[in-house]
Symmetry: C2
Subunit: 448 residues, 2 copies
C-alpha cells in the first residue's frame, strides 16, 4: 500500500524517489494515469461513499455544523464532478518540457530554459475531501509527486480517495509513491512534513488562517500561502454608471465567500452624487450591508431626506416605497479604521468617497492584500495610472475582480491563488507547480 | 542624507515609499541615474579611496589577512571597473513592462502578464565594497529600491559608496530612499532587516555559510540564498577524450574558488583506462590533488607500475620522467564518503569510476547541490538521459560548468546564482529581481 506509510519522513522520501521517475514520464503516460484515476473513482464510488459516511457520522456526532458537514459530504454527483475535473486536467497542455526561453550565445553555446517539475509537492488541506483528488491530478499532470495531509475530520474519505488515486496511478505506469497521504492529522505530522527539506520542494496550504499560522511557525520547506483577498473596486469620475454598478454587484455578491470578492468600494467624489444613490439601493436590494465613511454617509443622509420629502409629497415611491423594505440609509453603518483592512467574506461592503486616483492607489497600497483590484473608468489616463500604480496580482480595468481564477484565465484548474511576489503570483496552476532548468549544449566549449 | 537613517525599520519604510515611485519610472530616467552614479564614482574617487584607506588600515590593524584585505581594497582602476559595470547595467534591456504572456479570453477579456519590480530588495554582503554599487545598479535598473547591509570591515567604504549612489540617483530624478545603507553591521541589524515583512520584498545574502545560517535562523522575509556548488563533470564511454580533458581542466582549474567550478569527476568504466592516464597527468600538471575511489586508484596504480617498468626499461620517460615532478599517482589520495559531498573551492578533485549514466544521475541526485552538472559524450541517448535525469539549475552537454553566469548567459550582470527551485534558479539577473502582475481589460465584464 503506497498511500499509508510508517512515518512522514518515510512517506516523503518515497515521494522523492517517485518524483525522479515522474519527471521523465511522457505526457501520454501521465494523462493515462489521470483517466485511470477518474475511472477508478466512479468504479469504486461505493467504497468512497461508505468511507465518507463514516466521516459524516463522526462529524454529526461531533456537532461540526452544517457548513462543515456540507463541505465534507460526497455523493454520486459530487464524485462524478471530481472525476470530470480530473479528465479536464488531463486535457490541459503539459507544462513539462516547455521551452520558456532559448538562444545561442556569442560563443556558440545553445541555451534553453526548460520547464521541469518541482519534485515533491505537499498539499495541506482542511475538510473538503475533493481536494485529495483535485490536487493529486494537478501535481501528477505537472510531473510532481504529491504528499497529502488532510484533516482528521475527513480521514476516512481521504484515505480511500488517496488509495484509489495511488493504485490507479501505479496501475497506469506511474511510480509507487507518486500519490501518498500522511496518516494522522495532528500538528506533529504537520511540523514533520513542513521540515522535510531534503525531500519536499514546496508546501501549499489550503485552509484557513489557523492552518497558515501553524505552518508559518514551523515550516523550513518553501511554502506558497494561498491568498486572502481584500479587494477593491474603484469607480472613477468618468465611469459608465451602469457598468460600474454591475461590476460592484458582481464583485461583491456573485460569491461573497471567496478571496476575489470585493470588500471595499471607492468612489470618486465627482461621480458620487450621481452614482451612489442607485448603487446603495442596488446593494440594499442584494442584501449587502454597507460600512461607509463620513462623506458617503453624509451623501446617503441627504438622499434619504430627499426621498422622505418626495415620499411625503407623494410623487416618488420608487426608492423608499417598496412595502417593508428598509431604505438604503438604514443599511449603512459607520466604517471604522478596521473595516478598510477587513476581508469580510460576507455580504458587507466598505464604501468611501475619494478625491482622485492617486488617493485610491495610496489606499490600496495601505490596506489591500495584493490580490485583485479593479477600476471602472472611461478615462485612459486614470486606467493607466491605476494599472501602473496598484501593486497586486491582478489589476482590472472595467471588469469584476471575480475573474481572478485559473479556469477563467485559461490556465485550467488551479490549486489556489498566491498574493506572494516570488515564484507564483495570482492563480497557481500547472506552470506554477513547475520550476525550470537551463539546458546548455556545446561541442567542447570551455570558458576563456 | 538618504543613506543613513535612524533605524532599520525607518530605512526600510522609506525604501518602500521610494519603491512605489521607482516602479513607474521610465527606462531613460533609470538609465540616466545609473550613468550619473558612474560619473559620480569617478568624480568623487578621492573620497572613496580615503574612506577605503580607513577600512584598510583598520583591517591591517585587526590582522584580517591578505585575502580579505585584497577583497576590501579599492584603487583607481577598480573604481573605474565598478563605474564601467554600472554603465553596462544601464545598457541592458529594462525588464520592467515586458509582456511575459498575454491572450484574449473566450469572454473577450484581454489578459497580459507583465513584469514589474519586486519593490524593496535588501542585499546583505561581506567585505567586497564593490557589491554596494553592483547590487544598487541591478536593483535600480529593475525598478527596485535597495537596502544595503555591508560588513563592518568595509563600513567607511560602503558608507561613502552608498552616499554617492544615493545622491547621484536622487540628483538624476530618482526618489529619496531608492538607495540606502543600514548603519551598523551587527546581528541585531541583520535580524531587524530580515523581519521587515511589510516593507522588504526579498533579501539576497552574498557571503559565506555563516551569513546564510544567521539569516535562516531569523528571516521571515523571503530569502534567495546564493548557491553553493558541488558540480560534477561526467565523462561518458563515448566522450571525445581531448574534449573531455579540456572541459575537466577548465571546470576545475580556470577559477577553482567559485561555485560553478567542478568538484567531482565521474568516468565511465569503459573509457577509464584510455582517459584517466592523461587526465590524471593533466590534473597533476595543473597542481590539482585528486581524491579517488578504489577503482580509480587501482587504475592509477597499474598505470604507475607500467610507468615504472617502462622507466626502468629506459624506453619511456614522458610520464614520470620530468625531473622533480611527482608522478600522478603520488597526488592521488583516498576519497572518503565526505569527499563526494564537499565543495572544495580549491585545487582538489574527487574522482570516481562509474558503470553507467544512470549511476551518475543517482550519484548527482545524492551528492549534488543542484547548481551545474556536465556530461561529455558523443552519444545522443546518454546526453538525453543526463539532461532529463539530472535535477540542477544548469545541465551541460559537452561544455564546462564554468559557463553558469549571468554574463555568460547573455543576461548581463548577476547578483548571484540560485540553487533554489522557486522563483529564481541559476543566475539571478534583472528579470529575477522582478515579479509580475496580470493586467486585465474589459468593457463592463462580470462573471456569470
Amino acid at each position: 500500500m503506497a498511500t499509508i506509510a510508517t512515518s512522514v519522513a518515510d512517506t516523503c522520501a518515497a515521494a522523492k524517489r517517485a518524483a525522479r521517475a515522474l519527471a521523465q514520464l511522457d505526457t501520454a503516460v501521465k494523462d493515462g494515469a489521470l483517466h485511470a484515476i477518474a475511472e477508478a473513482l466512479l468504479a469504486r464510488s461505493d467504497e468512497v461513499l461508505a468511507a465518507n459516511e463514516l466521516d459524516m457520522q463522526a462529524g454529526r456526532d461531533a456537532h461540526i455544523g452544517d457548513a462543515l458537514l456540507d463541505r465534507l459530504r460526497l455523493d454520486e454527483s459530487r464524485l462524478a464532478a471530481i472525476a470530470a475535473a480530473v479528465r479536464q486536467v488531463a486535457a490541459l497542455a503539459d507544462p513539462v518540457g516547455e521551452v520558456i526561453d532559448g538562444h545561442r550565445l556569442l560563443n556558440g553555446l545553445d541555451v534553453r530554459k526548460v520547464r521541469v517539475p518541482l519534485g515533491v509537492v505537499a498539499v495541506v488541506y482542511e475538510a473538503r475531501p475533493n481536494v485529495t483528488i483535485d490536487a493529486a491530478a494537478l501535481c501528477l499532470k505537472s510531473g510532481n509527486a504529491i504528499v497529502l495531509r488532510g484533516s482528521s475530520t475527513a480521514a476516512h474519505s481521504n484515505a480511500v480517495l488517496a488509495q484509489i488515486a495511488s493504485q490507479a496511478a501505479v496501475g497506469a505506469g506511474l511510480p509507487e509513491g507518486a500519490v501518498s497521504l500522511v496518516a494522522g492529522g495532528g500538528r506533529e505530522e504537520l511540523a514533520e512534513l513542513a521540515t522535510q527539506r531534503d525531500s519536499v520542494d514546496l508546501i501549499i496550504p489550503r485552509g484557513g488562517e489557523g492552518l497558515k499560522d501553524a505552518l508559518q511557525a514551523v515550516a523550513t520547506v518553501p511554502v506558497i500561502y494561498a491568498a486572502s483577498g481584500n479587494c477593491h473596486v474603484y469607480v472613477d469620475a468618468s465611469a459608465d454608471i451602469e457598468q460600474a454598478r454591475a461590476i460592484v454587484i458582481n464583485a461583491k455578491t456573485q460569491r461573497p465567500g471567496v478571496c476575489n470578492a470585493a470588500e471595499t468600494l471607492l468612489v470618486h467624489e465627482r461621480i458620487a452624487a450621481a452614482f451612489l444613490p442607485t448603487m446603495l439601493d442596488a446593494l440594499a436590494d442584494a442584501g449587502v450591508t454597507v460600512r461607509a465613511d463620513e462623506r458617503t454617509r453624509a451623501l446617503a443622509a441627504s438622499l434619504w431626506q430627499d426621498d422622505s420629502s418626495r415620499a411625503a409629497a407623494g410623487n416618488d415611491a420608487t426608492t423608499a416605497g417598496a412595502a417593508g423594505r428598509r431604505a438604503p440609509h438604514q443599511m449603512i453603518e459607520d466604517a471604522t479604521e478596521r473595516d478598510w483592512a477587513t476581508e469580510y467574506l460576507a455580504p458587507i461592503l466598505a464604501v468611501a468617497v475619494v478625491d482622485c486616483v492617486e488617493d485610491v492607489i495610496e489606499h490600496i497600497a495601505r490596506y489591500g492584500s495584493g490580490h485583485s483590484e479593479a477600476i471602472v473608468t472611461r478615462d485612459t489616463a486614470a486606467a493607466r495610472a491605476f494599472q501602473l500604480g496598484v501593486d497586486a496580482a491582478c489589476v482590472y480595468v472595467n471588469a469584476s475582480t471575480r475573474f481572478t481564477d485559473g479556469g477563467e484565465f485559461g490556465m485550467g484548474a488551479e490549486i489556489g491563488n498566491s498574493t506572494q511576489k516570488l515564484h507564483a503570483r495570482g492563480p497557481i496552476g500547472l506552470r506554477e507547480l513547475c520550476t525550470f532548468k537551463y539546458l546548455i549544449e556545446g561541442d567542447g566549449h570551455v570558458r576563456a
